[in-house]
Subunit: 320 residues, 2 copies
């Protein structure tokens, strides 16, 4: 049977690169798309006209489809959406989905829309509003996360809707791709692994931290405040812990904590302040151990997945 994600997105391999603010620019996105996956520009809080330039730059760097990830709770969202209605990137993925009514508007422009969902109810709503597929993201992912793991969310979402499901969260190699497909996914999205792609323009110090990170390297901050974020442990993460306690004790507000976080992602990812900045990363950072060109990452993951898949019928021997 043909892969529905490849057919839908007109890509060679059903591997998406997660949109990452201050990380996935046109250069990384184009490298991933040129490697046969779907590269995705992370719009984040980018001013709308800068986003337009990034989209145009991606078009210069690749002839293949690519996407833009938008965060709906971002103050720039409306302006960014207006620009994208004009620029019409092949795909838009939507994070922090507050409403699914934007989906038909994009689709009318010929833009495919893939919401990122962390719960079954949102996946159903996305399907009702005409999404082309959904990205089911487990809580092991980096950045803003939900509360259900990939192992449980993937089958729940796959069984609840008819749309193809792209699994995200905890996926950094071919074994995880096979696991995701066993659970019902037809594609995967990887963020963390592409942070260390050769074409990724994050600061070298950040790449070094990612390569070194082990299984207890990430922490979820701001959970008590209501918007959990997974990032590498560092001085900033420790500070968050203190601020959250202050928040619970009534000594500061949610806004105070939000303000304390302003600019921190940029400070780490672009400027290399790995101590005081925020290095959003998924748990699978522990599985990431080398810098490679994006196309090589994709080829390696595909080859690994095919090898693991071929061995599965023999390996799953459940009788003595």
């Amino acid at each position: 049977m043909p892969n529905r994600i490849c057919d839908l997105l007109e890509i060679e391999h059903p591997i998406l690169q997660g949109g990452m603010t201050w990380v996935s620019d046109a250069v990384l996105a184009a490298a991933v798309s040129n490697g046969g996956g779907l590269g995705i520009i992370g719009a984040g809080a980018m001013p709308a006209e800068m986003l337009r330039e990034e989209v145009q730059r991606a078009r210069e760097l690749t002839d293949r489809p690519f996407g833009v990830n938008m965060i709906m709770i971002n103050p720039e969202f409306e302006k960014q959406a207006a620009v994208l209605m004009e620029e019409k990137p092949p795909v838009v993925t939507l994070g922090a989905v507050t409403s699914t009514s934007i989906i038909p508007a994009f689709k009318e422009q010929g833009v495919k829309v893939l919401p990122v969902v962390a719960a079954v109810a949102m996946a159903r709503r996305a399907e009702q509003h005409g999404a082309d597929a959904v990205i089911a993201e487990g809580e092991e992912a980096g950045g803003h996360i939900g509360g259900t793991s990939t192992m449980v969310l993937t089958p729940l979402v796959s069984r609840a809707i008819g749309l193809p499901v792209i699994a995200a969260g905890g996926i950094a190699d071919g074994a995880a791709v096979v696991a995701a497909f066993a659970l019902g996914a037809e594609g995967v999205q990887m963020g963390t692994r592409f942070v260390v792609a050769e074409e990724s323009t994050v600061h070298q110090e950040v790449k070094n931290k990612f390569i070194k990170a082990g299984d207890r390297a990430t922490v979820v901050t701001a959970r008590t405040v209501g918007y959990p974020v997974r990032a590498l442990k560092n001085k900033l993460a420790n500070l968050y812990e203190k601020w959250e306690k202050d928040f619970i004790a009534g000594k500061c507000t949610v806004e105070d904590i939000e303000n304390l976080g302003l600019g921190k992602l940029r400070e780490a990812m672009r400027e290399g302040n790995v101590r005081d900045g925020s290095m959003m990363a998924g748990q699978c950072v522990a599985l990431v151990d080398k810098i490679q060109p994006a196309a090589e990452i994709i080829a390696e993951v595909v080859a690994e997945a095919e090898a693991v898949a071929a061995a599965i019928p023999d390996r799953v021997d459940l009788h003595r």
Copy 2:
């Protein structure tokens, strides 16, 4: 290649039933073992002589191997261990592993020892101290949990040690078994699914709650206190949230919170107080939807896994 878990534990199928305090007694454990898996008595805080009776009862109810799960931080641990050195159940699994030096003592008595690990370092330590296999438990599991998901922990542990790895956390059906094997496991442990086994003696009201639970049914309490526990959301879980805030604000101590939790598991599981008691459950409670005999659960999971595994080479088509 033969399955190492079946060989090691002398069981028909590499499926373990997680030891669950106030849930997995000799009756459930024997039903699982008679179904070809490994049933496990949850010792919890059971007085040592009561544990002796449970082990003897399991021996009356099944001729097949079974296990006992011990929680090392439990005050009864030393006495329980002394009884088990005499009773010599075929297998002991160790939770809340504070030290691995108990492993050789059990092994001298011919008891196989499987520590439950939530981190790579502990898995390495368990191997060094002669464990027969490890149970790598992801944070989607019920009860006391670690901080890494099954999707990431399973490959990390499998690659770090030479012992066979049993994956736990988020596993309730055959698809998840195939996922776990793809990630490197050679066996699985399921707790939540067996709570609703016909032979499970938990209160019917608890089974009803498990059957109805959806993807946002569980919550992790006591995370801020340092010993995170996953359970179904209810009035008690809400209270925990309040107590944790009091703890952070310095209005109560860890001991106060521990005392508030005393007896709550029993209150729910045995007495059916699903509002004020603690119903420890894994995220995969959302995938659990019927009451069946334990042997039927095992047969169904095996059949599902074999079907999913057989289809994997075709399904993992990663080219357009």
